[in-house]
C-alpha cells in the first residue's frame, strides 16, 4: 500500500467538514495524506470518535495511525454508528497529519472496501 501525499498547499478551510477536538493547531492543514489501510480499532468515544489503522508506507513498512473524527452525535448526523467500522476492515482514508510529525491525524474522508463513503 502506498502512502501518497495528495496536496501540500491547501489553504486552511474556514469551515472544515469536521470540527475537531484537537483543533487546527495540532494538525498540518496544508497537507492531506491518503492511505489504504486496515482498521485495528474503532473507538466510539468522547470527546471524538477514534480510528486506529495500519498502513504501509512507500517502503512497505507498516505504520500505525490514530485518526480523530468528530464526537459521536455529530457522526450520527453523518450516518455513522458504533458498529460502522470493525477491526480488519479495509479502508481508504484521507486525513490531515499531525503538525509535529506524530502518527495521529484528523479524518477528512473514509471509503470502505465496497466503495461506500462514510
Amino acid at each position: 500500500m502506498k502512502l501518497k501525499l495528495l496536496a501540500a498547499g491547501v489553504l486552511l478551510m474556514a469551515f472544515p467538514a469536521f470540527a475537531h477536538h484537537g483543533g487546527t493547531s495540532l494538525y498540518d492543514m496544508s497537507k492531506q495524506l491518503t492511505v489504504d489501510a486496515t482498521v485495528t480499532d474503532f473507538l466510539w468515544t468522547n470527546p471524538h470518535v477514534e480510528i486506529g489503522l495500519d498502513a504501509k508506507d512507500s517502503k512497505g513498512k507498516v505504520k500505525h495511525w490514530i485518526l480523530e473524527a468528530n464526537s459521536p452525535p455529530v457522526m450520527v448526523n453523518k450516518g455513522w454508528n458504533r458498529k460502522v467500522l470493525q477491526p480488519g476492515d479495509v479502508i481508504k482514508v484521507t486525513f490531515n497529519p499531525s503538525a509535529r510529525g506524530g502518527s495521529v491525524g484528523r479524518l477528512i474522508k473514509l471509503i470502505k472496501s465496497d466503495g461506500k463513503e462514510l
Partner: protein, 260 residues
Amino acid sequence: MRNRLCSTVWLLGILAFICGCSANDAAKPASQVPDLSGIWLGKPVQSLSVSDPTAQKPGVEGDIPYTPWALAKMKTERPATGRDSTFENTTDPALKYADPDGYPRASIHPMRFKMVQTPEYVYQLWEYNKSWRQIALNKPHSEVPDISWFGESVGRWEGDTLVVDSVGFKDSTWLDPIGHPHSEDLHMIERIRRTDPETLVFDFTFDDPKAYTKPWNSQLTFKLKNDGIMTETIYTISDELSFRQRFLNEKPPIPIRRSN
C-alpha cells in the same frame, strides 16, 4: 323522583364536562401560542460576531463594542479554535476544566437540542452533556437571582415570538468558542421565532456594561431534524485526559477511566 334523578345525572354530566375541559387545557400546550417544539441543529460557528463567524479577527471584528476590560481579557485567552488556535495550552474553560458550556455557547456546539413547551415553561434540552435550561413564562425574575452556568430565564409570547430575558450568568463561561467574555451583570434578551416550519431563529442582544460599551446583537439559526434522534454525549475529564494521552502523548496527571 324520576325527574330529580334525571336532574342529578344531567348536573353531574355538566360538572364532568367542565372538569374534563379544565384538565385538558392545563395538560396541553396552549394552542394559541406558536409551536417552537422539535429537535433542532445549527450550523457550526466559532464566534457570535455576525461579521466574523469563523473567528478570523477576534478582538477587531468591528461589530462588538468591547470595553478595555473585555478586550484585555480577549487578548489573554487562548481559544482552541479560530485563526490562532492552540489546543495544548488553551484557556477555554470547557476544554481545560471540562466545564459546562453555559449559555448561549451550549447552542453553538454542533449538536442537537430539543425545545419542549408547556403552558408555564419552555425547556431547551441539549444533547451535549445532557444539559438543559428552563424559561419560566409570564413570571418575574427572582428577587436575587442565583449565579449559574445557564442563567435565570423568564419569557413571554409576543405574537409569533418568544421573548426571553436572562440574568445571573456565571462569569467564567465564554459566550462562544472564540472566548467572548461577559460579567455576572450580563443581561441577555432573546427573540425566538420559527421563520418557517423547518427554521428556528434566535436573535440575541447582549447588554453588559462591564464588558461592552453598548448592547450588541447576534443571531443563531437552526434547522429542524425530523428523525427523533437525541444521543448522549457526556464529556468528562477522563475523556479529555485520555484524548491528550493518545493524541499528544501527555501522561495523565491523575488516574483516568479507561472504558469508552
